[in-house]
Structures are given as C-alpha cells and as structure tokens.
C-alpha cells in the first residue's frame, strides 16, 4: 500500500505548551484510519495541522508525495484533501441543495452537476429538504450535509473531525454506515474520534495519541487488545 498522507516529526506548541510533538503518522490509500486518544491528547491540534488551519512549529506534512507544510488550507483542498470540522458549519441561510452546489461546482457543471447533486441528496437522505435553508436541519442532518459537501469534492483523502459529535446512537450508526460505504467505493479517510464503539464500527487502522505523542499504532484488533490503551482511556496512564 502507498501512503497518501505522511507527517514527519510534526509538532505544534503554543507558547511554552506543547500540544503535539514528534508525530509520525501514515495514512495508506484506501483505508479508514482513526485517530483516537483521551481528551487533551492533541487529536484536534494534529487534525488542524494536517488540514492546514494551523501552521506547525516543527516537522512537515506530505500529501500524495508533495510537501504541503507551507500550503494554505484551500491549496491543500485543491490538491485533493477535503475537510469536515467538528462543529457543523454549513451555509445556514442557503438551501441544502445550494450548499452542495457550492462544493460540486468545483468539479462539474450543468447536467452532470445536477445528477451528482441528486445522488448526494439521496445518499444523505436529504431529498425532501433540498430547498430548505440548511440552518433549520437537525444537528445530525447538518453533520451529514457537511460530510456530503466534503465528499462532493471527490477528495483523495477525507478528513473528518468527530463526525458523530452530538449525534444520537441511531444517527451515529447511520453515519458509520455512510463512512463504510464511501470507503467501499474507494475513499481514504482519516477520522478523529473518541467514541470507541464507533471506532470499532469503522476503523481499519488506528493511531493512539497520548499527551501529544503517538502512543500506539496498529490494526484495530491489536489496539483494542493492548492493555496500555485501555489504561490511558481509564485514566490510569502516566505518560512516559
């Protein structure tokens, strides 16, 4: 397998506080890679370093073989990344369909765009809400719409930050199915998540962050079987 995303000795500190340090992460093409860890482990910071909304203090980010460390977010998106942040951010006063159009128009136009839009609305189960302002959708639906916008860019790598935050168990499960279906169609994903049930549902490989460093890395079964991982989740860990 080839790595689509690589970070080399990536670090970020705020003043004297080190949020992430010396992270070497590798996401292979075609996999669902989950980034887990207890609160304050540095998951969100690492995610933002990859997405380009933070500039790193040390190290570099390689995307599809290219060093994108100094690239702005939109430039990374142009190169095939697509990002869904934790707090749902949709264009609240624009109709649902137009939300998707803004994303879709980067890749297609005319009839092809219409077809794609219908397909996505169906996938997101938002057909009936196509003409309603996105702001009046439920929280879970807004999360889905945002995933839909990210998918519409036909990315080589989809970055999802806690896609199930604030969702009901039912919505969480459906989200998991969506993600697996996208993966089955060949999409690579890096997912930040703290809900272990959900991680078990979707993950193929896992990186565990603890105190800003990579604590463990491996296949889903190995990680779940690792007693040290359980320890840090139960709060017994003392770092290094």
């Amino acid at each position: 397998m080839t790595a689509i995303l690589q970070t080399r000795a990536l670090g970020k500190h705020f003043g004297g506080l080190s949020a992430v340090s010396d992270v070497n992460l590798e996401v292979a093409a075609g996999e669902i890679h989950c980034l887990i860890g207890p609160n304050g482990a540095g998951k969100s910071t690492l995610f933002k370093l990859v997405a380009g909304t933070y500039a790193p203090s040390d190290g570099e980010v390689l995307f599809r073989g290219e060093n994108v460390t100094r690239r702005k977010t939109y430039e990374r998106v142009e190169r095939g990344m697509s990002v869904k942040l934790q707090v749902p951010s949709v264009f609240r006063e624009l109709p649902v369909a137009q939300n998707l159009e803004v994303a879709l128009q980067r890749k297609s136009s005319g009839r092809a765009l219409e077809r794609e839009k219908q397909r996505l609305l169906e996938f997101l189960q938002l057909q009936d809400d196509a003409d309603r302002p996105a702001g009046i959708l439920s929280h879970g639906q807004q999360q889905w719409l945002e995933i839909g916008m990210a998918v519409a860019l036909e990315p080589a790598l989809l970055l999802l930050d806690e896609p199930t935050a604030g969702m009901s168990p039912f919505e969480t499960e459906r989200t998991g199915e969506m993600i697996k279906r996208l993966n089955a169609e060949g999409m690579t994903m890096l997912v930040v998540e703290h809900d272990m049930t959900f991680v078990r549902q979707i993950a193929q490989r896992i990186t565990v962050l603890h105190l800003g460093r990579v604590f463990a890395q491996g296949g889903i079964d190995a990680i779940i079987a690792d007693p040290r991982v359980e320890e840090i989740y139960l709060g017994k860990g003392h770092g290094h």
Partner: protein, 361 residues
Amino acid sequence: MSMLRKLNGPQTMGNSRAFWAGFVAMLAIALLYPAVSDPYDVGNVAYLLIFTLTALGLSLMWGYTGMFSFGQTAFFGVAGYSYGVISINLAASGAMTLLCLLGAIAVAALFALLLGYFLIYGRVSGVFFGIVTFATTLALAAFFGQTAGPEWAIGQARFNGFNGMIGMPPLELPWSGDVIVLEGNALYYFVLGLLLVIYLGLRVLVNSRFGNVLVAIREDPLRTELLGYDVRKYQLVAFVIGSSLAALSGGLYTAWGQFIPPASMGLPAAAMPIIWVAFSGRQDLTATMVGTFLLLLMFQTITVYSQQYALILMGFLLLLTVLLVPSGFVYGIARSLSLIGRRDKPGPEPVLRAGAEGPSS
C-alpha cells in the same frame, strides 16, 4: 443562452414570469417617461438613477459578500475628481469624454484594489472594515476640502478646495456623424441603458458559480475556504466591482453637473448609500434598486423644503429599519406579500442575519 438562464436563481428575488412581465412593463414606462415630462424633470430622474449604481455596488459587497464598506463615497469622489482632471487637461469632447469616464473609473478601481488588498489580505473584517473605509472617505473629503489655493491643481484642473472642482465637459456621444451632448433626455436614456445592463449583469453574476461562492463566503468564510476556494481573492474581486460601480456613479454625477465637491465624500453623504441599501434590503439587487430610487425621490422632494428635515428623516428610517425590519423594508414587504415568486420555499425571516457576523475580533 446559459448566461440568460442565470438571470434567475436563488440569489435574486423575482424569478417568475409575472415578475419579468412587471419588469418589462416598468421598463416600458421608463422608456416612455420623457415623452410625457419636461426635460428638466427627466434630467432629475437621470440624476437619481445615477446614484442607484452606487447602491447596487454596495448590495453586492455588503448584502451578498458580507463586507461592510462604509466608503462607497470615496470611490464616487475619486472617480469624480479623476474625470475632472483627465477631461479638463485633455480638453476632451466627443467620444473622448467617454474614454475620460472610463479612465476615471479605472483610477478609482485601482484605488479600490489597493485599499481592498490591504484590508482583505490583512484579514480585516466585520466592524473594522467599515471603520477603515469610512475613515478613508472622510480623510479624502478633508483633503480635498483644503485644496483651495492655486497650487492645488493637476495641469489645468484646479481643485478649488471646499467649493469643489468645476469646468469639466459633459459626456458626449458620437451618433451617426454627429455628437449628442448627454444631458436632459439623452443623458436619461444613457443612464437608463447603463443601469439596465448593470442590473441584469449583476443578476447573472450573483446567480453564477461566482455568486454562489460570494454568498457562501457571507455565510461562512472558513467553510468556503475548506471547499478549496481562495476566499480573499473572491472578496477582493467583489470589493473592486462594487467600488467601481460607485466610481461609475461619481463619474456620471460629475459629468452631469460639471461639478464635484469634497462634500460628496464627507458626512452626511457617506451615510447615504448605507441608508439606501439597509432600508431597501441589502441581500437583494432588485429590492436595493427599487428602494434606493424611491428613497432618493422622497429625499429630493423633501430637500426642496429643508435639507435638514430630509436628513433627519433618513436617519430615522435607518434606525427604524434596524429596529423593525433588519433585512430591509422593500425586501421584507416583497417577501411577506409574496408578490414575487421565489424558486425556493421561504425559510424563516432572517432576523439575526445582520448580527451573524459577530463582533470583530
């Protein structure tokens, strides 16, 4: 053909056949108006139409893109003075005057590009954007206000300080071997034609892919950037287009009256575009155009009796808009009466729209 399809879309009110039928009827009335009125009144209406261009530009920047430019009058004035300087020094006549107008707009657009670059690429947004553009227009007014001495001139064109620059030629249009001086009826038709083209052009623009991105930026700049758009580039383009429309107003105004004073950039002039657009409904071009015209007409009628009372009324209307219908009166009325069909189902009235930007950080 696909361009024309973009005349209608989610970013504009009035996409139905009934709307366009009404539109054509209004246009017909506007075309016939000079036949039933005297040239003086016609010239006056042309004067009102000139200002609606400034309002349309502000609607594009503020209503569609979410940038509060309080400095439309700066570009109005810069273009006005530039028209004076260029046309007086070239002793322009005939088609040359139209080139002078274009040159004046180019100068103002360049100025907008420069100012916009510093503000937008400095990530100045929200309230600060308003303050700096506002301070710019006031500073320009103060600058031109003290250029009374004979040393303040570019070539033959004297600035004349507080009294303003005079003596520039009116616009002239070559027409089948002859030249038509653009005043009275001729100016009216010229401005009406310009307004028609610009209004339709802006409709196409806001309903196009470009417009989709503009409203997306207004709603959520970060989300838009996450979709791979260089947000600042779009903002800068919108700023330059919007400011250039103010410049077009300024150039036409100067040629119309053969006069441009510094007061056109100071207070209370700088507050006017904001009032027109806020009162009318900034997030819609049609509402802005109609509302601005009506306000100007009312303002002009009252000014005859007392300019102070007219201005007090304008201030009062702005306050009333903010307190009662933040999305604008014309826009609000048009929506609630559902006189004009909308393609999408109406959502909840965007009461919080204006505040969604939050305090500047």
